[in-house]
Homo-oligomer: 262 residues x 2
């Protein structure tokens, strides 16, 4: 690990939406960034925008399709010489439609991105950084990972995975008194490219589709509140769209020896 | 679809454990079987055992590694000429260990088997059979998919996926008045090869490791109780190891138009 004085925040899926807004928000906190997405042009625009905010910051662009696990491993290895203070797994997408009608090519890509890439990065980051002070891993999930939403069953299931995985990791890190903390952000409807991608359309009007929603900039502010807190979960209340911080939501059997003796 | 009079029950992971015991239990109900696993020898032994129970039954053996999604699609296509009355996704395995220490080759295979293969089969089966009377899809999951268990975080997360996916599918099928029903079995500790595989050992003593556990034969009986019921979930209470049937456990936002207007 080189140059420990210079620290970086990694954001996957930084080309748009919550990832893009989060990159801006962390730049305003004077954090050097490593931004990851498939679309190089969008990342170059982000880098330009950050240069306008603070020309001293370093912004490293990594163009990568994270739906292929070999790419995920290779990218983590490429970042070996950077000291990564915060790792934000934001890349992911949704799908609206019934299980029987869903396009399995899209669904398999969703599983690889929402679940597999997030698990590989979380594991490798935890292995390397769990004893480094001030480090955080933040997984961007969904309220749909605590409540099943009709017409989005498979997407919600991926987010149940992310919420259980991240809450479990947070418990585990506390139990072993690791210096790394793990957190999960659970947005409700947020105005991003999510609606287009989930509905397979090129235009999507959040005002027409949702009674209430947040903007990506609002969500990035909530993410910063989670980042600044010592809580594990930052979640949106789907009734009033208020934000709150929590220690845990899913049941946890706590004692590692509960039933298993060995 | 040919020969609709002759019906089959598909069981994945039928070479041992709950899958093997379930094959025997369905044979005793005089069900023709299609048994799937990697280990042909075990399936041949199972077929022999079923011939001793009822020589009239047909037992089709399919040797397949379901951790590769192309195999999963190909196998489903191979079964196109069979009328499949019940599809039981039982194949899967666990892993004990911390997230930071976990072997990612094993974890990626677990994600492919526990999540991806189950999702592909569930989707294809739902698409083809949702309007066929008397059909059922039963996913074998875990109590660890409702309560996070220390030292088994990633495994539990895969089972949170399975439980949310299957509960969601069950709601969806009811909503569209489909003839197919979807159900999930959530065992606690069950004496199978699970312990060996999850601990990466060749011998595993359930008496030494667990205060309480079920046998695979007991679990197959619970599965039959779930099969015979109109409930969605068959779950083991982890305190007293009793079995109960439930309509749902995870929250469900019910109305498809709740917040999303379109």
């Amino acid at each position: 690990m080189q140059n420990i004085d210079k620290k970086y925040t990694v954001i996957t899926g930084a080309s748009s939406g919550i990832g893009y807004a989060t990159a801006i928000a962390f730049a305003k906190r004077n954090k050097n960034l490593i931004v990851i997405a498939r679309r190089e042009e969008q990342l170059a625009l982000l880098k330009q925008k950050i240069a306008d905010i603070n020309p001293q910051l370093e912004v490293v662009i990594k163009v990568c399709d994270l739906s292929k696990s070999t790419n995920v491993h290779a990218l983590f290895n490429q970042l070996d010489n950077y000291f990564i203070e915060t790792w934000i797994n934001n890349a992911g997408f949704g799908n609206y439609g019934s299980v029987g009608d869903q396009d399995l090519d899209k669904i398999e890509t969703m599983l690889h991105l929402n679940i597999e890439a997030l698990t590989i990065f979380s594991t490798l980051y935890t292995r390397k950084y769990q004893n480094q002070s001030g480090t955080q891993i933040i997984n961007i999930s969904s309220r749909g990972g605590y409540t099943i939403v009709p017409n989005a069953v498979t997407y919600c299931a991926t987010k149940f995975y992310v919420n259980a995985f991240t809450e479990g990791l947070a418990h585990e890190l506390k139990q072993i008194k690791a210096k790394l903390t793990a957190k999960v952000l659970a947005p409700a409807a947020t105005q991003t490219e999510f609606g287009q991608k989930a509905n397979n359309v090129t235009e999507y009007d959040y005002d027409k589709s949702f009674a209430k929603y947040h903007t990506a900039d609002q969500m990035a502010e909530f993410l910063l509140a989670l980042y600044d807190s010592d809580k594990t979960i930052g979640e949106i209340n789907t009734k009033d769209f208020s934000f709150s911080l929590k220690d845990s939501i899913f049941p946890y059997s706590g004692d590692p020896k509960q039933n298993q003796k060995s």
